[in-house]
């Protein structure tokens, strides 16, 4: 087989796959997670990229929840708030609850009422991925701790293993809890675990995560922690930052300026 034919067959194969994916996307009942593979570098190099986030709480407006609203709309996260069946990807937590192991005697009035956005930390050493018996949750080549909703058996071992309370389980069909459906991310079924995915579906399109874009105070910086020239690394070098429960050795990729 000559080189041209091989090339043609390869392209035709990809086109057929892409067509299949698009057709599946048209029918919301059979929506698959669409990933445009052409955006990836030819061979992803493990450890070359490690996506990370720095949240500057000084610029995080009090009482504002635009980040979670944008994220929860983008990803079709159902609203069962206030019940035990709650599902959430990014939400605000009181400082002393997000950082229960940091010193907190005699803290200032501002710290007393400070609320910080909390989300999956995309740990470099994720205990959830270690606990998962089916590799349904796994660390990707770019450091994102991802979920395969089609493989998850719903044992909730990852939820017990996560020391940050970042994971939610679909205790019921999520669709009745979604007011307006978003076309950018598939809905899930009952019986599987979900959490923040660092907007991997937006990253492949060259877009920033939804929460970063939605923040009116520009408080969230997103970037490659392995690139010393990135904005996030420059901020980390300049500012005093914190990670949640660093004593557990999980190496969170989400940093905070308090």
């Amino acid at each position: 087989m000559n080189q041209q034919r091989r090339e043609f067959l390869r392209k035709a194969g990809f086109a057929a796959l892409a067509g299949l994916g698009a057709a599946a996307g048209l029918n919301p009942l059979h929506a698959l997670e669409k990933t445009d593979t052409s955006v990836f570098p030819r061979k992803p190099v493990e450890g070359k990229v490690r996506w990370g986030m720095l949240i500057d709480t000084r610029n995080c407006p009090e009482g504002c929840t635009k980040c979670s609203a944008a994220c929860h709309f983008e990803h079709n996260v159902p609203d069962f708030s206030g019940t035990k069946n709650e599902v959430k990807w990014i939400w605000k937590s009181p400082y002393e609850k997000a950082f229960p192991t940091s010193g907190m005697q005699f803290k200032s009035d501002e710290l007393e009422k400070l609320e910080v956005p909390t989300l999956c930390n995309h740990c470099a050493e994720p205990p959830c991925a270690k606990a998962c018996p089916t590799e349904a949750t796994f660390k990707r080549w770019d450091g994102i701790v991802s979920m395969d909703y089609h493989r998850c058996i719903g044992c909730r071992f990852c939820m017990a293993a996560c020391p940050y309370g970042s994971r939610s389980f679909n205790w019921q069909d999520p669709r009745p809890g979604i007011e307006i459906f978003s076309a950018s991310y598939p809905t899930r079924e009952r019986g599987v675990v979900e959490k923040c995915n660092f907007c991997s579906e937006r990253l492949v399109k060259g877009m920033l995560p939804a929460c970063v874009e939605a923040c009116p105070g520009k408080a969230i910086t997103f970037g490659n922690l392995n690139d010393p020239a990135s904005d996030i690394r420059a901020l980390l070098a300049r500012e005093e930052t914190m990670q949640r429960k660093p004593e557990l050795g999980t190496l969170p990729s989400v940093f905070y300026i308090i």
Partner: protein, 382 residues
Amino acid sequence: MLEKALKGNRAYWIWMVLLVMVIVSGLSAWGRQLEFGLGVTGMGRDISWGLYIAQFTFLVGVAASAVMVVLPYYLHNQKAFGKTVIVGEFLAVSAALMCMLFILADMGKPQRVLNVLLHPSPHSMVFWDVIVLNGYLLLNLVTGWAVLGAERKGVLPPAWTKALIYLSIPWAFSIHTVTAFLYAGMPGRHLWLTAVLAPRFLASAFAAGTALLILISFILKKSAGYDIGFEARKKLTVLAAYAGVANFFLLGAEFFTAFYSNVPAHEHSLQHLYFGLHGHAAFVPWMWTSLVVGIGSVIVLLVPLFRSRPRLLVAACIGLIASIWVDKGIGLVIGGFLPTPFEEIVGYVPTITELQVTFGIWAIGLLVLTALLKVVVDVKNG
């Protein structure tokens, strides 16, 4: 041999039909759970394991405790256990079966259970638990059945059974060790993150499982005229007593480290369970009842004057089983989620549906155990 389980007196059939009714009720509840999702249970985002995983953890212990009769009989030639060994092995079979059913009931996507084998993940303790539990069930079923079959024919059991029986002894320790490792390797869950969890699991298993075996021996004696013998029961009582002592010693060691070191993370869960935390004390009466009843039962089992009275012995066995069930199920599994990673205390109350499923699985286990023991009694009574 199984045909022996199909013949029985009136009481036998009433009991079996009763169990079938509980199983049907459990199945219908499980159907509701499959239809709506696990939201029909009391579990939620913060307490994400409940009654099902609690039963699983307790029953792995019951399964493992078969070694308390297998080891003395086969390794130390304790002839007194001749009529008990098979009862222990079949108790292990039914307990291991219930364990697997409880895991299945707890899964959000039970139809995907084979993913565990399709994508084997040795870094996950669940993978190992599936292997050891299934292996243990098979070992006990195959060896128990083969030895009993040989006895019925009046011949010596085949040589290969010996090898499998010897293998089942370390295997029994492995099932409860791996089950403890499910919990003991998780950062941020401080009630579980302790090196004595596996030893404590083994001690509580050998105490509760052996006590259960003593109770079963009384039931068999009364209902079927099958007596394992005074000597065997006496030895079992002593084994349960010392396992109970080891269990409470290890619990005491947990208290010392947590409260003497005064490290908040180590302290909070125990404080919540036994004294209440931030004004939440729902578990406190349960835990203290468990502690008092458990220690009282161990004392009865230890003192010859008390344990020689059958009524007191039965009461102590029930007390020890109940105490460990509360300590391991309610305290350890559910209490282990509290305080949450956000230092909050939330509530958990099992729902009727959850209870129905739980009773249904227990009924399946009891049905299998009853049928197996019926075969044992008929073969042994010849």
